[in-house]
């Protein structure tokens, strides 16, 4: 590993120059000749039957292309796991902002006016908006019982632990919806040609997801649907499935009009209509021994999926599997379900269920600590997994990870002990209370269970006429460094220079399906395949006699040029094969859920100013074991960025709902941290390697999303002596809790009493 020249080095971001010069072309920067602009007419009620559509007289509708569900050549659905989400509402709407009609016109500025001029009348039906209302089942809005999916994970014999327990600790924890807020709004351009079929270009994470859904929607054979990813300005999961919807819309307008159509959402539309993180409710009931060891527990994990199933089963799966976190549970029962409400369907957001269930767990660990009268550190020390022990799904920890050592190091780096003691002392007077909190956790990389086997990803590496080498994957760059790291891997594997390697723009006509760019799988899983495919190129050249056992980059390039000139093509493909030691039982939901876990301990230090009840995060230590750091700057950037989102999740980002519609869909009113709100975040890595990942890497994209919220809220409780079990935690919530505790309306006397 120490001889690696490129992997592990901070090589320049492959497409960085274009980004800093403004040359990078995002979908709204692209224009096609004869292009029309598209817009969407959306439901204004949460649930109802469409009774009448009136086209206002102030608009000349003859100039418009108008598409309704009737125009759909194939099946009216956005094909994903199941086909339950309509592309366009047909008679019924089930959530506010549900798409009903599409309009296109050459004048972009006329469209909002036209959308307003179109009125839809409904016969409203009773609608439901919360997990509890959904569970009541007084209104069935999906399937037979409003439940999209449920899982049961069992280990050992939970029912037998209660009588042995010295303590039984219960808690209920909630997380709210969170908007991904990529700074580039969703957008697509579609074109249709009767011979070539449909082509779409746009902002997305998963070209082949879009491809699959367009094939079904447009009733075209796969070879007559082409999907191209344009430079994408942030995604975070928010562009995992929604792009299929907007691509479908653009494609339908393009098919009907015969002209290219561009649809770009503005911020208000994007926030109100597209997916968000699933709100969650987790209930814990834990049996604990006298010396603070978890004997077993029941966890009920419920997420709100919105009006259609979309990705909810997978979010649920990951959330459920992570619900037991980094601890040893000898016995456990996890009941997980995803339920329907009349809100826009929720979707993927970095972490994908794990930030929700891990928030609950890490808060619950602090609660257990209090009941058992141990410190938050000690309760973790006594329960963290050890090599050889099994997770909640029965997966054995098969690497030499020492979580107690990781914990100790994080505590040292954050000066935890001294600060905890000092804060407790200094909090006795004054209006500013300080606290420090911990979260210890894990994140499984790659698709869950048999997911990677099912994806059966394929990658390619090819030699080009100029002697350079090119990576062929459908994995997309959206800031996290896909382009750079995959090229590093190839350059390293082939002993070339970084500059000798490029990567094709993800275009379903040009690249194989390497699976979606999600689940922290790109570097680890796809990267390993790319490494393999690269070696395949070398083998081909060696076999042809044009390359020796050792060679210079120039010699390699020459060999490629010669081979391509002679044979026309030099390409090597590699397909995913499930490692033999990663065995998963889909029926029982047991076994090795992930090929690798990354492990982390985060420590947050906060100040709560009781004048305003605002929380500031003053110091943040993020320590994680990630297998191998392939690019120190990119890896650090991922951790810091994820932590910023996690702090937002905890303290700032509240979606305000009114009858299923987001009310604060502007950047003024949906609050994410600015540069003036975040203290420096200190990032540290450890590297244990990973046989299942390229050059030993584990996936890290989502890991940093799991720890910040519980670490911060644990710190707030440490500061105030008041528990908070629901996020986002706003100053207003802190105020309400603190004054309720004091039985008073004002805070100043609380400050004097101390904690």
């Amino acid at each position: 590993m120490s001889t690696d020249r490129i992997v592990g080095q901070p090589v320049p971001r492959l497409e960085g120059r274009d980004k800093v010069t403004g040359q990078a072309r995002y979908v709204d920067d692209i224009e096609l000749p004869g292009m029309l602009f598209g817009a969407t007419v959306r439901s204004r009620v949460p649930r109802g039957k469409i009774t009448k559509i009136t086209f206002g007289a102030e608009v000349d509708w003859r100039e418009f292309v108008i598409v309704s569900a009737k125009d759909i050549p194939g099946k009216n659905c956005i094909a994903l796991i199941d086909d339950d989400e309509p592309c366009l509402a047909e008679g019924m709407v089930n959530h506010p902002e549900e798409p009903i009609l599409l309009l296109a016109h050459p004048d972009r500025r006329l469209l909002p006016h036209a959308v307003e001029a179109l009125s839809v009348e409904y016969e409203p039906l009773p609608a439901i908006f919360s997990i509890e209302e959904s569970e009541q089942q007084s209104q069935i809005i999906w399937g037979t019982d409003n439940v999209f999916k449920s899982y049961l994970i069992e280990k050992g014999d939970v029912d037998a632990v209660w009588e042995k327990a010295a303590y039984i600790v219960e808690g209920e924890y909630r997380t709210g919806a969170q908007e991904q807020l990529y700074i580039e709004n969703n957008g697509m351009i579609a074109a249709f040609d009767p011979q070539q079929g449909v082509t779409v270009w746009g902002s997305m994470q998963c070209p082949y997801y879009v491809h699959k859904s367009l094939v079904k929607l447009c009733n075209l054979p796969p070879e007559r649907v082409r999907v191209v990813q344009t430079e994408t300005g942030g995604a975070f999961g928010g562009k995992e499935d929604y792009p299929s919807m907007i691509a479908g819309h653009a494609a339908l307008l393009a098919m009907k009009s015969g002209r290219p159509v561009k649809i770009i959402y503005d911020r208000m539309e994007d926030m109100a209509a597209t997916t968000k993180r699933h709100p969650s409710r987790t209930r814990h009931r834990t049996a604990v021994s006298k010396d603070g060891k978890i004997l077993g527990g029941e966890i009920e994990f419920t997420i709100d999926g919105g009006a259609y199933e979309t990705l909810s089963p997978v979010v649920l799966s990951r959330g459920a599997i992570h619900a037991g976190g980094a601890y040893y549970w000898p016995n456990i029962r996890i009941r997980a379900k995803a339920v329907a409400t009349n809100t826009p369907p929720q979707g993927a957001f970095r972490g994908f269920g794990a930030p929700q269930s891990l928030f609950a767990l890490e808060r619950h660990m602090d609660r257990i600590a209090q009941v058992v009268q141990l410190s938050p550190v000690e309760i973790r020390r006594r329960n963290l997994l050890k090599p050889g022990e099994t997770t909640t799904t029965g997966q054995s920890v098969s690497e030499a990870i020492d979580l107690r050592k990781l914990l100790d190091r994080a505590l040292r780096l954050s000066d935890y002990a001294a600060k905890k003691e000092r804060f407790a002392r200094e909090n006795r007077g004054g209006n500013r209370k300080k606290g420090i909190g911990i979260a210890s956790f894990l994140h499984g990389a790659g698709f869950t269970g048999s997911g990677e086997r099912y994806l059966s990803s394929v990658v390619g590496v090819e030699g080009r006429t100029d002697g350079s080498v090119r990576v062929l994957v459908s994995s997309t760059e959206f800031g996290q460094g896909t382009n750079t790291v995959l090229c590093q891997i190839v350059a390293e594997a082939l002993q070339l220079r970084y500059e000798d390697v490029g990567i094709a723009q993800p275009d379903t006509q040009e690249v194989p399906n390497s699976g979606p760019t999600v689940a922290s799988r790109t570097v680890m899983v796809v990267g390993k395949l790319v490494q393999s495919a690269a070696l395949g190129i070398r083998q081909t050249l060696e076999a042809s006699g044009s390359l020796g056992a050792t060679y210079s980059p120039e010699e390699f390039r020459a060999a490629v040029r010669v081979y391509v000139a002679k044979n026309g093509k030099l390409q090597s493909l590699a397909r995913y094969e499930q490692p033999e030691d990663v065995v998963w039982d889909d029926q029982k939901y047991r076994g090795s859920a992930y090929a690798a876990f990354a492990w982390a301990v985060y420590v947050a230090e906060v100040t709560v100013d009781l004048t305003t009840c605002s929380v500031s995060v003053d110091d943040f230590v993020a320590l994680q074991e990630v297998g191998r750091v392939l690019h120190p700057i990119l890896a650090t950037g991922q951790i810091v960025g994820g932590i910023a989102q996690g702090i937002g999740f905890a303290l700032y980002e509240k979606v305000i709902w009114d009858k299923g519609r987001m009310q604060n869909g502007q950047m003024t009113n949906y609050i994410i941290p600015t540069s003036a709100d975040l203290a420096p975040i200190r990032v540290y890595f450890e590297e244990l390697g990973n046989v299942h990942g390229a050059y030993g890497a584990k996936g890290i994209g989502e890991l940093p999303m799991d720890g910040p919220a519980p670490a911060v809220i644990n710190a707030v409780e440490d500061a105030l002596g008041v528990p908070f079990d629901s996020i986002p935690l706003l100053p207003e919530d802190i105020f309400d809790a603190v004054t309720r505790k004091a039985g008073r309306e004002s805070i100043s006397s609380v400050a004097e009493d101390g904690r």
Partner: protein, 165 residues
């Protein structure tokens, strides 16, 4: 026909962009952002929010950092506008652009043009800013990818060298 009922007139609006004189014939209430992107093809300036909150549309107008989504183009008449495309000298990147590359200041890149111009503006008023100055100076530019750390580092790097602005 869907013509505007009052038949408002377009007008000629001359101004300078990146040192070049341009003249557009547009409605006076077109946003400067849209004129730059659609009339002049300078797509480096981005729209992130349309409310003057995210800073992705930031340009320099007569040396001052402004959000171009909030400026009616008529008010840019006679002004000197600098967009991200005007920062590099041919192949030679501006020190800030290079620093963003070196430090990881750009991830998805969509906030980057506005962010670099905000940094450029900051360094023109405070050539050697403290970390706090940098965080304040950039607080009108939202980034969702980086958590700001590596952006602040990039700006500080240029500031320390004293060769910014």
């Amino acid at each position: 026909m869907n013509e505007s009922p009052q038949n408002r007139a377009e007008c000629d609006i001359p101004f300078q962009v990146n040192g070049k004189l341009v003249a557009v014939r547009v409605y006076p209430m077109e946003r400067l952002l849209d004129v730059l992107r659609e009339e002049l093809g300078l797509t480096g300036t981005k729209e992130g929010c349309g409310e003057g909150e995210c800073g992705s549309c930031a340009v320099l107008m007569d040396g001052a950092l402004v959000n171009s989504c909030l400026i009616p183009v008529l008010q840019a008449k006679g002004a000197k506008i600098t967009t991200i495309e005007g920062l590099a000298r041919g192949e030679q990147l501006h020190a800030l652009q290079q620093a963003f590359l070196d430090c990881g200041g750009a991830q998805c890149g969509i906030c980057t043009p506005g962010m670099i111009l905000a940094a450029y503006h900051l360094l023109s008023t405070k050539p050697q800013p403290s970390l706090e100055d940098i965080r304040e100076g950039l607080s009108g530019n939202l980034c969702r990818c980086t958590g700001y750390e590596q952006i602040v580092e990039a700006v500080a790097k240029v500031g320390r060298r004293g060769s910014g602005g």
